[in-house]
């Protein structure tokens, strides 16, 4: 087990180095405001895709309402800082918890449904949240909640993303996480192995929803505004695309999917007329050649390239 600790520390060290490099580049203005914005967006999307992967990829529940939880986090976070004048840290906590609470309340009845029904229910949920917000004057209704201070920095976004990744990775490699995987693999067998399937489905859904809320707080506090148009069904679909592209059930896949799609979208920002064409083409080509996603349900690791590590088969633990 000690090797796990060491492995974690090494990964954390690598993250710190990456952070220092990007932070320096930002500091000396080598990375301009346009790419700074997109780096933050990438990090937010990584949080979203990794948290959706927990629900869809690990637990096998097909949820497509993630933008709804993103919206709840964005708005509750903004209420804390703008309306109540309280600190950003509190906004992060409250945004996360209220999204998680909503996920829990919605999860209890809907996760009893399966397959298509769950997808329709979560899709409807996302729209209901958006339309509710649209009609609440307190948060600006259709014109959105404006005047949100820019509290989200690269450092905040980066370390929160790392935190979320670690929490979900550790969850997956624990008994409750294995219960979720078992539910994905075979629900009836999972149940006969003594797993209260509803409990673990709701658990995964709640954690995933909560982190989408965290992403929402970061999002609203970077772009100065929380607007209903940012949280449409298309946004949910974007997140789902990232997860599926990377490979359902692969953490590194979800991260790669988020980075890749956000970067492509940013790189094509100057050619708006080509943007959707190339974006769709990339997806079509990838789906034809790798219908299981870039990584399938496997994890990207140095061992995949035959480098480093032990030779006794797979790693004791996957990221």
């Amino acid at each position: 087990m000690n090797s796990i600790k060491k492995h974690d520390l090494a990964t954390l060290g690598a993250c710190a180095v990456l952070f220092a490099i990007v932070q320096t580049l930002l500091f000396v203005d080598f990375i301009g405001p346009f790419w700074e914005l997109n780096i933050i967006l990438i990090l937010i999307n990584v949080i979203l895709s990794v948290s959706l992967n927990l629900i869809n990829g690990y637990t096998g529940q097909f949820s497509i309402g993630h933008a709804g939880f993103l919206a709840v986090g964005a708005y509750t976070g903004a209420i804390i800082t703008v309306k109540l004048g309280l600190p950003f840290e509190l906004a992060l906590v409250v945004g996360t918890l209220s999204s998680a609470l909503l996920g829990f309340l919605i999860g209890l009845p809907t996760l009893r449904l399966n397959g298509d029904y769950l997808a329709i229910a979560t899709l409807g949920l996302g729209e209901i949240i958006r339309i509710c917000i649209l009609n609440i004057e307190y948060v600006g209704g259709a014109s959105g909640l404006m005047g949100i201070p820019r509290f989200t920095t690269f450092a905040w976004a980066f370390w929160i993303t790392i935190f979320v990744i670690f929490v979900i990775k550790n969850f997956k490699n624990s008994a409750p996480g294995r219960c979720c995987l078992a539910i994905r693999e075979n629900e009836i067998a999972a149940e006969t192995m003594g797993i209260d399937t509803t409990k673990y489905k709701v658990m995964a859904f709640t954690i995933g929803a909560g982190f989408a809320g965290t992403a929402g707080v970061l999002f609203a506090h970077y772009f100065y505004i929380a607007h209903p148009a940012s949280f449409t069904f298309m946004r949910s679909f974007d997140i789902l695309t990232m997860v599926v592209l990377g490979g359902l059930g692969s953490m590194t896949g979800a991260i790669t999917g988020a980075v890749l799609l956000t970067a492509i979208s940013a790189a094509l920002a100057e050619y708006p007329e080509w943007r959707m064409v190339i974006y769709s083409l990339t997806l079509i080509i990838l789906m034809i050649n790798r219908p299981q996603g870039l990584f399938g349900s496997k994890e990207l690791s140095l061992k995949m390239f035959g480098l480093g590590g032990s030779h006794n088969g797979r790693a004791t633990e996957s990221k």
């Binding site: 087990m1 796990i4 600790k5 974690d8 929490v167 550790n170 969850f171 624990s174 008994a175 409750p176 996480g177 294995r178 219960c179 995987l181 078992a182 693999e185 075979n186 009836i188 067998a189 999972a190 149940e191 006969t192 192995m193 003594g194 797993i195 209260d196 399937t197 658990m203 349900s297 088969g313 797979r314």
Partner: protein
């Protein structure tokens, strides 16, 4: 003898079909009992009622004096019953060892916070679960496959893994649904030896479903015979072997 399972006048009705009719059975501690009958007789349905997959339409099932009716499968497992499936239901995209580790989840003490932040009981318990899982795999000669995906195992090994996984829940009664299905005679013979050995080694009771009568004669101490949902005979293997109704039921099957 101490009574473990009591099935009292239980029926399962699907629409107009009585898949199991007024079935009564008891299993005592340490017994190895067989449930036989031609295909479609209602054996799997009986299992599904015992394990909470179906709720019996009529009658009562008790395990160690506690009512099973209305319990969910995971609650039944917690009471001390574990099963395998006629059509293998492994966690096929997970490793062999994870298949077994999952079955230990009921005995895990550490909290979600300990799991996610990795402190307290997490490391010790994970280590002991892994150790226990490997020991169990060794018993079933599956340890060399431990990091293999379950779906990549040969058929016979998959069947053994399913039994190992069921045993990991630490049951008092093990229910095996046609564990020899699809095995060759050599494998089947080994399996039957193993079932006998498991009962002794793990100190539990076993209920074995089999549709091939000759198989169970040697292993089971008592038999129940189902046909069209009705229990047509029960007793010692020798009595069953010479029972006219049973012979007719099985002849009927061979002809068709």
């Amino acid at each position: 003898m101490e009574e473990l399972l009591k099935v009292n006048d239980v029926s399962m009705i699907f629409g107009g079909l009585r898949a199991v009719s007024n079935f009564t059975m008891e299993i005592n501690k340490g017994e190895l009992v067989g449930l036989i009958g031609p295909n479609g007789a209602g054996k799997t349905t009986a299992f599904n009622m015992l394990t909470g997959v179906y709720n019996p339409s009529e009658g009562e099932i008790t395990f160690e004096g506690k009512l099973v009716n209305g319990k969910k499968p995971y609650q039944v497992t917690a009471m001390g019953m574990a099963r395998t499936f006629q059509n293998i239901r492994l966690f096929s995209e997970l490793t062999v060892i994870d298949n077994v580790k999952i079955a230990y989840n009921m005995h895990v003490q550490y909290s979600l916070a300990e799991a996610v932040c990795r402190f307290g009981r997490y490391f010790n318990e994970e280590e002991s679960i892994t150790k226990k899982a490997i020991e169990l795999l060794k018993i079933f000669k599956l340890d060399r496959f431990k990091d293999e995906m379950a779906k990549n195992l040969p058929y016979g090994e998959q069947r053994r893994l399913e039994i190992a996984r069921a045993l990991a829940t630490e049951p008092k009664l093990l229910l095996l649904d046609e564990p020899a299905a699809g095995m060759n005679p050599q494998e089947t013979h080994e399996l039957m030896e193993m079932i006998r050995w498991i009962r002794k080694e793990f100190d539990l009771s076993i209920l074995l479903i089999e549709h091939d009568m000759s198989l169970v004669m040697g292993v089971c101490e008592r038999l129940y015979v189902l046909e069209y949902g009705f229990c047509i005979a029960k007793g010692l293997p020798d009595e069953i072997k010479h029972n006219k109704r049973v012979i007719e039921a099985y002849l009927g099957e061979e002809v068709s």
